[in-house]
C-alpha cells in the first residue's frame, strides 16, 4: 500500500471524477470530492514527511516498467513540497465549495461541477508527480480542459464567464501547443521523454539550435500557462467571472503548477549550464517578472471589483516568483518555492473570503463591502490579513517570501532589481489600504444588503489565514524544504 502512494493520490481524484458525475446527487458528489481531496492531502503529507525524513527520491514505476521504458512518478524534495500545497488548497476549497456552489450554480449541474473539479485537481497533482515530459502534457490538458469547463459554469450567474472561458481556452491551448512543439523537438533530438533521461542525453546536443529552440518553445508555452506578463490577459477575466469556489482553487494553485513545471523543465532537463539559459532566459524572466510586478500592482490599484483586483495582484505575485527563477541561483529558486507556497495560502484566504461575499450578493465590489467590517468581521479580517501578507508585512508569510527573494537578488548583485521589488511591493499597500478603509472606516450605506457570516463562510478562509500567519512566524520548516527543493536543481550553499 505505502509504496503505491505516489500514484494513488493522482488516481483517487481521477477515478473519482466519473463517479461524481454518475452519482448525480449533489451532496453525495460533494462528499465524494471532499473525501478524495482529503485523502490526496493526507497522502501528500505522508509523502512529504517520508521524503523529508529519508532525504531520498521516491521513484514509482507505473505498471512495473522501470524508466526509461515506462512512465515513472517521482517524489523528490521539489515535488514533495508542491504536492501538499495543491492538495491542501484543494481540500479546503472543497470544504468551502458546497455553500458557494449552492449559491452560484444551477442545481442539476452540481454533480458535473464536482466531476470537473476532481479532474482539474487530478491533472494538477499529476503534473507535479510525473517524471515524464509527455505525461506532463497529458495532465496539463486534463487540468486545463476541466478548468475551462469550470470557468464557463460561472455563466449561470454572470454571462461574461463564457467569453472569459473561451479566451482562456484559446490561450491555454496555444500555451499547451507551444509546450508540445518544444517537446517534439526534444524527442527528435534525444529519442526519450523521461525527464532524467532527457537531461542526460541533452548534454550531447546542447549546443544545437534545435535544442535552444525547444527551450524557447517550452518556456514560452509555460510562460503563457503561468500568466507571466505580458501573456497574462486570460487570467483576470477567467478568475473574476468563474464561480467563486473555482476562483479560489485556481488562484491558489493553477498558475503555481505551471511555475513548478517551468522550474522542473528548465532546470531539471536543460540545466543551469545549458548554453544561453542563464543569460537569455534568465534576463528575460527577470525583466518580465519585474514588469509584471508593476503592471499587476498598478492595475490592481485601479480595480474596484475585488476578484479582479486580487487577480491583478496575482499577476504581480507571479512576477515575484519569476524573479526568483530569473536569479538563477539556489536561493532564487528557494525564494520562488517559498513564495509559491506562501502565495497559495494568501490567495486561498482572500478568494475564499471574497467568495463568501460574492455568493451572497453576486459581486464583491468596493460598494458591496463598504462598512462591512462590523457586519462580517471575521470574513473581512481574513481579507485584511491576506492583504497585509501580500504587502509583505512582518509576521505574515509574505514577509518571509520577500526576505528570501531580495536576498537572492542581492547575492547576485542585482541591486536595482531589489530596489524595484521593494517599490512594487510597497505599492501593494495602496490597493490593500483602499479595501481596509472602505470596509472598516466607512459607514455601511443605508439600504445596503445585510451580509451574514456563518462558520461555513469563514472557517475555510480562516484555515488559510492561520496558515498564512503560522508560516510567517514558524517559517523554518518551509525554508528548509524550499532550499532542499532548490538543491534538486541547482547546487550551492544556503
Amino acid at each position: 500500500m505505502m509504496q503505491h502512494l505516489p500514484i494513488l493520490q493522482v488516481l483517487l481524484p481521477l477515478l473519482g471524477a466519473p463517479l461524481a458525475a454518475l452519482l448525480r446527487h449533489r451532496d453525495m458528489a460533494w462528499g465524494l470530492a471532499l473525501l478524495l481531496t482529503g485523502a490526496a492531502f493526507l497522502i501528500s503529507i505522508i509523502l512529504f514527511s517520508q521524503q523529508q525524513m529519508t532525504g531520498e527520491t521516491l521513484v514509482y514505476d507505473l505498471g512495473g516498467w522501470p524508466a526509461p521504458i515506462g512512465i515513472v512518478y517521482v517524489i523528490d524534495a521539489a515535488s514533495a513540497l508542491v504536492l501538499p500545497v495543491i492538495s491542501g488548497i484543494a481540500f479546503v476549497a472543497t470544504i468551502a465549495a458546497r455553500r458557494l456552489v449552492e449559491a452560484e450554480i444551477d442545481a442539476r449541474d452540481h454533480a458535473l461541477f464536482y466531476a470537473a473539479w476532481l479532474l482539474t485537481i487530478a491533472g494538477m497533482l499529476g503534473q507535479v508527480t510525473t517524471g515524464d515530459a509527455f505525461n506532463i502534457f497529458v495532465f496539463l490538458e486534463i487540468s486545463s480542459l476541466s478548468a475551462y469547463a469550470l470557468v464557463a459554469m460561472g455563466a449561470g450567474r454572470d454571462r461574461r464567464a463564457l467569453p472569459a472561458a473561451f479566451n482562456y481556452l484559446i490561450l491555454g491551448t496555444v500555451g499547451a501547443t507551444f509546450y508540445v512543439i518544444g517537446l517534439g523537438l526534444l524527442y527528435m533530438l534525444t529519442g526519450t521523454l523521461n525527464l532524467v533521461d532527457l537531461s542526460d542525453r541533452l548534454a550531447d546536443v546542447q549546443s544545437t539550435r534545435a535544442a535552444f529552440t525547444a527551450l524557447a518553445f517550452i518556456a514560452l508555452g509555460l510562460f503563457l500557462k503561468m500568466a507571466l506578463f505580458p501573456l497574462h490577459f486570460w487570467l483576470v477575466p477567467a478568475y473574476a467571472h468563474a464561480p467563486s469556489a473555482v476562483s479560489a482553487l485556481m488562484a491558489a494553485t493553477a498558475t503555481k503548477v505551471s511555475v513548478y513545471v517551468l522550474i522542473r523543465l528548465v532546470f531539471g532537463v536543460f540545466g543551469i549550464d545549458f548554453p544561453g539559459l542563464a543569460d537569455a532566459v534568465g534576463l528575460l524572466v527577470l525583466t518580465l517578472g519585474i514588469a509584471g510586478a508593476f503592471v499587476g500592482t498598478l492595475a490592481a490599484i485601479l480595480e474596484t471589483d475585488l476578484k479582479k483586483l486580487f487577480a491583478q495582484s496575482s499577476i504581480a505575485q507571479l512576477g515575484y516568483m519569476a524573479i526568483g527563477i530569473g536569479a538563477m541561483s539556489a536561493t532564487g529558486l528557494a525564494a520562488a518555492f517559498i513564495h509559491l507556497f506562501n502565495h497559495a495560502l494568501m490567495k486561498g484566504a482572500l478568494f475564499l473570503a471574497i467568495g463568501a461575499i460574492a455568493a451572497q450578493v453576486g459581486r464583491a465590489g468596493m460598494g458591496t463591502i463598504q462598512g462591512a467590517g462590523r457586519q462580517i468581521p471575521l470574513t473581512m479580517t481574513a481579507i485584511l490579513v491576506g492583504g497585509l501578507a501580500l504587502i509583505g508585512v512582518p509576521l505574515t508569510a509574505g514577509f518571509i517570501s520577500k526576505l528570501y527573494l531580495v536576498r537572492a537578488l542581492l547575492e547576485q548583485d542585482f541591486w536595482l532589481l531589489a530596489a524595484l521589488t521593494f517599490i512594487s511591493s510597497a505599492l501593494a499597500l495602496a490597493y490593500v489600504w483602499k479595501i481596509i478603509e472602505t470596509a472598516w472606516l466607512k459607514e455601511r450605506p443605508k439600504g445596503a444588503p445585510v451580509l451574514v457570516e456563518t462558520p461555513v463562510h469563514y472557517v475555510p478562509a480562516w484555515l488559510m489565514v492561520i496558515a498564512t500567519i503560522g508560516f510567517g512566524i514558524f517559517a523554518s520548516p518551509l525554508v528548509d524544504a524550499a532550499y532542499a527543493a532548490a538543491h534538486v536543481f541547482i547546487g550551492g550553499a544556503r
Binding site: 504587502i391 509583505g392 508585512v393 512582518p394 509576521l395 518571509i400 520577500k402 526576505l403 531580495v406 536576498r407 542581492l410 547575492e411 531589489a418 530596489a419 521593494f422 517599490i423 511591493s425 510597497a426 499597500l429 489600504w433 478603509e437 472606516l441 510567517g472 512566524i473 514558524f474 517559517a475 523554518s476 518551509l478 525554508v479 528548509d480 544556503r494
Partner: protein
C-alpha cells in the same frame, strides 16, 4: 527577578493591559484603572531593568535560519524602555482625563491600541537584532494608525493616509532594503557593541547604506520625510503626546541611534567619514523645521515642527559619530521626551479647559491657568536648553561631540537653533503671562483643566527638572 523576566514583563504587561481593556469594555472606570495600574507596574519594571547591568540575549523564537526574534537589554535600549515605561502610566492618567473632558468617542478602541503601541515601543527598545526591531517597528506603525484617524473625519482619514503612506513606504522600501543588505553583507542581523559592518563592505558604499536607514526610518521625521508628523496633529492630544514623546518619533530616532552604534559602529562611521552628509542634513532639518515652526500659529502644529527640529539633534548626535555626541543624543531622547510631553499635555489641557488651539488667542491665559503655563514654561526651557533643566545637558554634550569631530559649523547651528526655540516657544509663555487678555473669557478667575490632566503635566515638568540633577545615571558610555 531575573533580567529575562523583566524583559518579558515589559513586553507582556502592555499586551495584558490591552486584553483587559477589551474584557472590561463595559466598565469604563475599571478599564482605565487597570491600564493605569499595569502602567505603574510596567514603569517599576523599566526602572528595575535600567538599574541592572547589561544582560544576556533572551531568545524567543526563530522564524528561519538566522532570522531570530530575540531581545538584548543593552544600555541604549534600556534607556528608551525606561522613557516609554515611565511616561506610559502618566500618559494613561492624562488620556483618561482628556478623553472624558473633550468628549471623544470609542474610548475602548483608543485605550486598546494605545497599549499595543507601548508594547511595540518596548519591543523596539529591547530588540536584540535588526529583524526583531523591524517587526516591532511595523507593529508600532499599524497600531498607531487607528489612533491617528481616531476622529474618523475626512481630515483624519487623509492624515491617516499620509501617516501610513510615508511610514510604511519608507520602511518597506528603504529600511527593509538596508536590513536585508546587512544580512547579505555580514551574514548576521545581531546588534553588537562596536558594530558588525567593519570589514564587510567597501567604505565607498557605506554612506549609501546609511542613507537607506536614515530615510528608511521615517519615524525619525528627518526632512524631507517629516510630512506625516504635522498631518497626524489632527489626532486627539494624548495621541500627539504618544507620537511625539513616548513612542513613535522616539522609536524612530532611537532606531537611528541604535543602528549607528550597534550595526555601523560609531568608530567605523567616523573613520570612513560616511556620516558627514547626515550631519549637514540633520543640521538643515534642525534649522528649517524651527523656521517653519515660527510661522505656525496653531499651538499643536508649532509643537509638531519643534519636534521635527529636536529629532534632528538626535540624528545629528548619531551622525557626528563620537562617543560624547552619541551619549548626548541618547540623553536627548529622555530629555526631549519629558519636555515635549509636558508641552503637549499643556496644549491638551488648554483645549479641554477653554477650547483654544490658536496661539494668538492665548494672551493672558497664563493668569487663568497658572499651573499649566508654569509647567509649559518649564518644558519650553528644557527644550531650549536652559539649566537647570534636562535639555541643557544633552545640548552641551552634542556641542562637545561636534568639537571633538571638528565640526565647528555645527556649534553655530546648535546655538542658532536654541535662539529660534527661544523665540517660538518663549512667545507662548510671554503671551500667556504678560500680554493683555484677548481670549474672550468672561472671568479672570483661575480655571484649570481637570486634575487628571493637571497632575500628569506637573509630574512631567518636574521630571525635566529632576533629570538635570540626576544626570549621572543617564550618561551612557559607547566607548571609542
Amino acid at each position: 527577578m531575573a533580567a529575562d523576566t523583566l524583559i518579558l514583563a515589559l513586553l507582556g504587561l502592555p499586551l495584558l493591559a490591552s486584553a483587559l481593556v477589551l474584557v472590561l469594555r463595559d466598565k469604563p472606570n475599571l478599564r482605565d484603572g487597570q491600564a493605569l495600574l499595569i502602567g505603574l507596574i510596567t514603569a517599576a519594571c523599566a526602572i528595575e531593568l535600567y538599574g541592572r547591568p547589561a544582560g544576556d540575549t533572551l531568545f524567543i523564537l526563530s522564524l528561519a535560519d538566522g532570522l531570530d526574534i530575540s531581545f538584548t537589554p543593552e544600555p541604549l535600549g534600556k534607556l528608551f524602555a525606561l522613557v516609554a515605561g515611565v511616561l506610559w502610566p502618566v500618559a494613561t492618567l492624562y488620556t483618561v482625563g482628556y478623553m472624558r473632558g473633550a468628549g471623544e468617542q470609542n474610548h475602548t478602541r483608543f485605550m486598546f491600541f494605545y497599549a499595543i503601541a507601548i508594547h511595540a515601543a518596548m519591543g523596539i527598545a529591547l530588540s536584540g537584532n535588526l529583524l526583531t526591531l523591524f517587526v516591532f517597528y511595523e507593529i508600532l506603525t499599524f497600531s498607531t494608525y487607528p489612533l491617528v484617524t481616531h476622529k474618523g473625519t475626512p481630515e483624519a482619514m487623509r492624515a491617516g493616509r499620509i501617516y501610513l503612506g510615508i511610514l510604511v513606504a519608507s520602511s518597506v522600501i528603504l529600511l527593509l532594503f538596508g536590513v536585508i543588505g546587512i544580512w547579505v553583507l555580514t551574514g548576521t542581523l545581531d546588534f553588537a557593541a562596536g558594530g558588525i559592518l567593519a570589514g564587510h563592505i567597501d567604505p565607498f558604499y557605506v554612506p549609501l547604506l546609511l542613507a537607506l536607514f536614515a530615510f528608511g526610518i521615517g519615524k525619525a521625521a528627518l526632512m524631507p520625510l517629516h510630512r506625516w508628523l504635522p498631518a497626524a496633529m489632527v489626532a486627539p492630544t494624548p495621541v500627539s503626546a504618544l507620537l511625539h514623546a513616548v513612542a513613535v518619533v522616539k522609536a524612530g530616532v532611537f532606531t537611528v541611534l541604535k543602528v549607528a552604534v550597534y550595526v555601523f559602529g560609531i568608530d567605523f562611521l567616523r573613520e570612513t567619514g560616511s556620516s558627514d552628509w547626515l550631519v549637514w542634513l540633520a543640521s538643515f532639518s534642525i534649522l528649517a523645521a524651527s523656521i517653519v515652526a515660527m510661522s505656525k500659529t496653531n499651538l499643536k502644529a508649532r509643537l509638531a515642527y519643534s519636534t521635527i527640529s529636536q529629532l534632528g539633534y538626535i540624528v545629528l548626535g548619531a551622525a557626528l559619530a563620537t562617543s560624547l555626541a552619541a551619549s548626548g543624543a541618547a540623553l536627548h531622547i529622555a530629555a526631549h521626551a519629558a519636555g515635549k510631553i509636558t508641552l503637549f499635555f499643556c496644549a491638551g489641557a488648554i483645549y479641554v479647559a477653554h477650547h483654544l488651539t490658536d496661539i494668538k488667542q492665548m494672551n493672558g491665559l497664563g493668569r487663568v491657568m497658572p499651573v499649566t503655563f508654569t509647567a509649559f514654561a518649564l518644558g519650553a526651557l528644557s527644550i531650549i536648553g536652559v539649566p537647570p533643566l534636562a535639555g541643557a545637558w544633552s545640548k552641551i554634550m552634542l556641542m562637545g561631540g561636534a568639537l571633538d569631530n571638528g565640526h565647528l559649523l555645527v556649534l553655530a547651528v546648535l546655538m542658532i537653533s536654541s535662539l529660534l526655540n527661544l523665540v517660538y516657544l518663549g512667545e507662548i509663555v510671554l503671551r500667556g503671562f504678560f500680554a493683555k487678555p484677548s481670549h474672550g473669557l468672561k472671568s479672570e478667575a483661575v480655571q484649570e483643566a481637570p486634575l487628571t490632566m493637571v497632575l500628569p503635566l506637573c509630574l512631567t515638568a518636574l521630571m525635566s527638572l529632576a533629570l538635570f540633577f540626576a544626570i549621572d545615571m543617564f550618561i551612557l558610555d559607547f566607548g571609542g
